[in-house]
Amino acid sequence: MTELDVRGLSCPIPVVRTKKAMDDNPRDVITVLLETVTSKENVTRLAASRGYKVKEEAVSGDYRLTLTPSAK
């Protein structure tokens, strides 16, 4: 399980961080805490393109995405 907090980081750093977490631990479930709708869309698009299942929830004004690799 990898946890990322990319709130307040501007585009494209949330995507860069998520990608790095995916490359470092390809079989890990990754949770990403983020702030803007744009970052949420971008990270979701990256995850979908790499075959991750994406679960989205709202957390006190922010968003948490749970990315589960398809092989798991």
């Binding site: 995507v15 990608k19 698009r45 994406v54």
Partner: protein, 360 residues
Amino acid sequence: MKALFLNKRLWIIGAGLIFGVFAALMVNWGNPPTMGICVACFIRDITGSLGLQNSVQYLRPEIIGLVLGAFITAFSFREFRVRGGSSPIIRFVLGAFVMIGALVFLGCPIRMMLRLAGGDLNGLPALGGLIAGVLIGIFFLRRGFNLGRAARGPALSGWIMPVIMVGLLLIAIFQPGFLHVSEKGPGSMFVPLAVALVIGLGVGFLAQRTRMCFVGGWRDIFLVKDTYLLGGILAFFVAALVTNYAAGNFAASGIYHWGFTDEPIAHTDHLWNFLGMGLVGISATLLGGCPLRQLILTGEGDTDAGITVLGLIAGAAIAHNLSLASSSAGTGAWGPVAVIIGLVFCVIVGFFMREGAKAT
């Protein structure tokens, strides 16, 4: 999920097509050639209209429309969120260098595509430079480059730039005596205020919804092999090209022809077209978006983007007062020096700004 993404992709391609058609037609309606919309040039023109430089002067309503269009859209979709404080002074200086690089080439990444769609092949070395700059930016991003976290801020700070835009709109409508307007050259060529404003508002809406970015599109194909944003750029280019042919702009009596020489508001110094746009590519990648995207984020309440826009304004004033900006005759006396200083600055920022960079 797949259908949703296909749907989004169609949106940005549709937005790019609409933007491209209007960007081409606005030249036929009065804007300068291959400059239907150029965010850098138009911010520069506004700078002149307020007396901060006296080379090109016109208060372009397109810019006002872009910010206010994004502002209204962000509010409607509950995406207006005031945030800021991510190295504002570095963003200000990067913004100034984006403008300086753009004025050495003579256009922002949007006008670069419009120049290509108008047959101006000087856009090719510029495109090469832009991509090279983006690649250097990606190198820093992969090493952990980061200007630091932004924090939520009070509503008032997010309203500052939109309210300034409303003030500029009032100035454009009522034309007070202090307003400067060029009597000749690009500043004297413009579409009617209402047309410019409505198209600005419309593009502001489309760009806010689709996150269109004329630097991010090139960045994402290398950074994450994602073609979503590039789709918008290519659709914009194709639409502008087809519209130029349909409007007769490439006819014998038309305003455009294919080639390098005698292109409108352009010079043929390939090295500085390459390096000027290279500076735009690297600084905009470090900033996270092209000048258009900075305007849209400004409308969404991002005060770091607002500071960047102020940096663009400062860069325009510096470029024209200190002979950095190019003209049809070639580069300005000090343009090349300024581009090199800008590139050095970007490399220093790229190397030293990483999360966890020591606070002193």
